[in-house]
Amino acid sequence: MNQNGPHTTALGGEPGFVVQLDAYSGPLDLLMHLLREEQIDIADIPIARIADQFLGAIHLLGLNQAADYLDMAGRLLRLKAQMLLPRRLDDDTWEDPRHELVRRLLEYQQIREIVTWMERAVDRRASQYVRGYLPPPPELPPPPLTLDLIEMLSAVERVIAAIPSPMFHRVVPRPLDVEGATARLEALLADNEEFGWLQALGPRPTITDVLSTFIALLELARRGRLNLVQSAPFAPMVIRRESTHPAD
């Protein structure tokens, strides 16, 4: 437990109480502490006094929310009542209603003793290092969410911002100038018996120019105005005037 645990918020900023809460690992621990403080013999607990002190302590410590402590407080109050009206077991002995509580306290005391022993063992062991061995870090459970609405919304915004926005491609119609290309090719045909593809394209052609010229070439070839010749696959294309048609 640390001081930033859920109790800090529950107590509305009274950190002193949180430290106190962490000092006890449970109601039995708190009870043992009270008994030690008062130097009370565990076999003869003045229940009325201890019950009152326990209630006072959990009130003081701000433990009111802790169900485990309230459970013990309830048991103590019941014991307090039972002490006033003990049951007779037989002629000589009376039932001691504290019996069960004492048994639990002794049991718990034993556990504390063992814990002390174990802590010493852990400490001893922790000072013996293994060669370059880093134990895998424990998988910690996710911390409890302590977000307010604003933080939550800003977190949502950060998440959304990280999502790549959809890309819109604008499709621009590029008008092909087949007429212009045809005119240029016819002018070339008039002057040249044959010429190369690059020459047909002219200087610094755009992609539209290339397409326009290519379509114009095919169209003129279809009309029988020129021949398209390649000496080999992928060889440069040569454009040749169709001899049966005189140049315009």
Partner: protein, 194 residues
């Protein structure tokens, strides 16, 4: 040092966990278990006699080469190593109950400690210090927990029997005295005191 001792030294040096005598025996098919034990003894004596900075320790059923405790502070200061964070008091209490009462269910742990144990049990399970070893016969067939080898490693113990003995305690250590109900013992103790 004989070749087997050298081989075992190499194995312990290279391994990231304690190796058992049986595992070490697989290194050399001609070696018997007692050969391996002898070699381990020889290695341990060698480290002690020559005052090496490391020693061979037996824990969690196996053997491991570790640095000697009195160098820990220097190693930590130089940040060659980092001390693992301590477990909380609640976690240690829960481990103690499980170690002595295993196999033990959540209800019994909560009865002894007087607090809800669900969160602590989950954390201990995630850290591999306890595991589910079965289910109880009671209503709802509750999960029963036991400690793991990693628990022994955490405490540097060879076996559970190295924990303080049952006779020294008012609660019973299950693996050794299963027939004696712990509550009877505690009650007897109360009567003799009062």
């Amino acid at each position: 040092m004989n070749p087997l001792t050298q081989l075992i030294e190499a194995a312990l040096f290279s391994a990231a966990r304690p190796l058992t005598v049986e595992e070490l025996q697989t290194l050399e098919q001609d070696a018997s278990l007692s050969d391996v034990r002898q070699a381990l003894d020889q290695l341990r004596e060698r480290y002690d006699f020559n005052q090496h900075g490391v020693e061979v320790v037996e824990l969690a059923g196996g053997f491991q080469i570790v640095t000697r405790p009195h160098f820990a502070a220097a190693l930590e200061r130089a940040q060659f190593t980092v001390r693992t964070p301590k477990l909380t008091g609640a976690a240690m209490e829960t481990l103690a109950v499980i170690a002595y009462r295993q196999p033990v269910g959540r209800a019994e742990i909560e009865e002894i400690r007087g607090v809800n144990a669900a969160g602590v049990l989950r954390t201990l399970q995630e850290r591999d210090l306890i595991e589910v070893v079965g289910r109880g016969e009671e209503l709802g067939r509750p999960l029963l927990y036991g400690t793991t080898n990693l628990f022994l490693e955490l405490l540097g113990l060879k076996e559970l029997g190295e924990l303080p003995r049952a006779e020294e305690l008012t609660i019973a250590l299950h693996p050794h005295v299963p027939e004696e109900p712990a509550e009877g013992e505690a009650a007897a103790y109360v009567e003799s005191e009062s």
